[in-house]
């Protein structure tokens, strides 16, 4: 095929065109500069995270290596760090507190926020939709101390009255408060995920005679599952790391709960409540930072597994 090209051979090369291919103009340098700047921003995010991890580890690691008994720390429910004679550092009850509150919160928040997101994204239209979206985002901005206050002042007496229990600051109270707290942000993310599903999918399914619910259930939800899962895991992270509302609504009692009416204490709330009174550098102080390391690791694992799950879904 190369042989039949002589006719045009000598005019084919336009020197002015090819010159440009080697000239790095202003735009080329701007491009490199911007690429460098965003690289620095991206890297600095990683550096900050590493820095925080380093600081938390530095404060707590002395205890981990010198005095910590892993069995006592993770498997006993006795937490009495201020005992002068024989302080005990078992976080089992604290873990149970965090887990029970977070779990209950997710039971409240997941169906609630998913339903709200489906309504806003698929059923509501026009004004209703816009108003709801604004309200949901407004709810997400309520500070956690306000939620804690609601738990303390409103939920507490209500629970005492309804269930005839002595104290209304319990797993149920904190779970509901935390669930309501996490719901708006989860709704917002889930709604974005649903809106990101192209309308042509809906049209293709509707054209086959699928009902609105069938379209949602068979086409839209599967297409949006990455984003939905992302929203749920963000909610779990929120519940796990939430401190103030949990501190106020759980009753803050070291206890492995037998029912949702028992008071508990959360890992985060323990750090918040006790760090101020612990001697800097002392054993108690180091133990609190050890809890910090633990929280950090668990959050990391939640995020990592979320990432892996989402990737797995993407491949499948």
């Amino acid at each position: 095929m190369g042989t039949s090209t002589q006719a045009l051979s000598n005019r084919a090369t336009d020197a002015r065109v090819t010159e440009d291919f080697d000239r790095r103009d202003f735009d080329w340098y701007v491009d490199k500069l911007v690429a460098g700047l965003v690289f620095v921003c991206g890297i600095s995010a990683i550096l900050f995270v590493l820095g925080i991890f380093f600081f938390v580890t530095k404060e707590g690691i002395g205890f981990v290596f010198e005095k910590m008994d892993f069995r006592e720390f993770f498997l006993t429910p006795y937490w009495s760090p201020s005992d002068a004679e024989d302080p005990e550092y078992g976080i089992l009850a604290l873990m149970a507190g965090t887990a029970s509150v977070t779990g209950l919160a997710m039971l409240v928040a997941v169906p609630f926020s998913l339903g709200a997101a489906i309504f806003i994204a698929e059923f509501a239209s026009g004004k209703t939709r816009e108003v709801l979206k604004v309200l949901v985002e407004l709810l997400a901005a309520i500070p956690s101390v306000v939620w804690g206050f609601i738990g303390l002042v409103i939920m507490n007496p209500l629970l005492i009255k309804w269930f005839d229990i002595p104290v209304g600051l319990c797993v149920l109270n904190a779970g509901i408060i935390l669930g309501l707290m996490a719901a708006p942000i989860m709704t917002s993310i889930a709604e974005d995920a649903l809106k990101a599903v192209p309308d042509r999918y809906r049209e293709a399914a509707e054209a086959m005679g699928a009902t609105r619910w069938q379209v949602i259930y068979k086409v839209v939800l599967p297409a949006a599952k990455n984003g939905l899962l992302g929203g749920v895991l963000l909610g779990v992270g929120r519940g796990f790391g939430e401190t103030m509302a949990v501190l106020m609504a759980t009753g803050h009692a070291v206890n492995i709960p037998n029912s949702v009416f028992d008071s508990v204490r959360a890992l985060t709330a323990t750090i918040a409540a006790e760090l101020g009174e612990a001697v800097v550098g002392g054993e108690h102080y180091q133990v609190l930072f050890t809890i910090g390391i633990f929280l950090f690791l668990v959050t990391f694992i939640i995020n990592l597994s979320a990432d892996l799950i989402v990737r797995g879904i993407r491949k499948g």
Binding site: G2, R11, A12, D14
Partner: protein
């Protein structure tokens, strides 16, 4: 920056030492995606001011070829290009500024892409990137490109409506107008008529015939008759191989080197 039209044709001077005979020369080109080979050892040459057709069934590697020519492999993770692509005699894998290369090659992808800006801004984008600021100049370019893409009459009253809200066929012509606004040296069209009605397709084909005076056109098409109508020479691709390159009319009158080409153009394939 770079002038267009007849002026570009006349340039006969300053040819570099390794004077290449063709606008685009592809030697032993192999493209892989991971372990999948999309294109295997392809050789072909596109002459200046010809319409070069590429026909072949799906998965023949036609689109991969266009991506490699435009150096889009940079964006596609896992895409590996071996072999040589020479554009105007320059090896495109050794350029200091691939953006300059891309700005000289217009590409029209199969599915229309109206960028989320006004019709006017869609077409004015490339000239603006080149540094053209004068409203008068831009007006001229926008009108000329839209007219050539057979879209002007339909959008002249709503140039400031969103380009992404046009109908599919209109967006495809908008995409073509945008490619033309680059004043390209090489225009690559990848199955442009998929989303366009037959009448408009014919109008665009007429435009392409006229454009041949100014630019070299690489036309990937799954309509063999379109290749016959437009292309001076045509290559037949099959499963990542370039089976045959020949004068288009020869391929359609049975003067083929490979029986598979005859089967394909006569629709007896598979």
């Amino acid at each position: 920056m770079v002038s267009s039209g007849a002026a570009a044709v006349a340039s006969d001077t300053g040819a570099p030492a390794d004077n290449f005979p063709s606008k685009l020369e592809i030697r032993n080109l192999t493209i892989r995606y991971g372990h999948t080979v999309a294109l295997r050892g392809v050789n072909l040459a596109v002459r200046e001011h010809e319409i070069f057709g590429i026909i072949g069934p799906a998965n023949a590697g036609k689109t991969s070829l266009l991506k490699a020519i435009n150096r889009m492999d940079v964006f596609t993770s896992g895409m590996k290009v071996d072999g040589e692509i020479r554009f105007n005699g320059r090896d495109t894998s050794r350029l200091s500024n691939v953006y300059a290369l891309r700005s000289r090659i217009g590409v029209v992808f199969p599915l229309p892409v109206g960028l989320p800006m006004t019709v006017y801004d869609n077409v004015a984008l490339s000239p603006r990137l080149r540094g053209i600021k004068s409203k008068a100049d831009l007006d001229v370019i926008v009108q000329r490109c839209l007219t050539r893409a057979a879209l002007w009459d339909e959008v002249k009253d709503r140039l400031h409506a969103l380009g992404s809200l046009l109908s599919g066929g209109q967006q495809q012509r908008l995409t073509i107008a945008r490619a033309l606004s680059q004043e390209p040296d090489l225009l690559m069209l990848d199955e442009f008529s998929i989303a366009v009605d037959p009448v408009t397709t014919m109008r665009i084909e007429d435009v392409l015939k006229e454009l041949r005076q100014e630019v070299t056109i690489l036309l990937v098409t799954n309509l063999v008759q379109q290749a016959r109508r437009l292309a001076d020479r045509t290559a037949f691709f099959l499963n990542g191989e370039c089976v045959e390159v020949g004068v288009t009319e020869d391929l359609f009158t049975g003067e083929v080197k490979d029986q598979r080409t005859r089967d394909y153009v006569e629709g007896r394939f598979g």
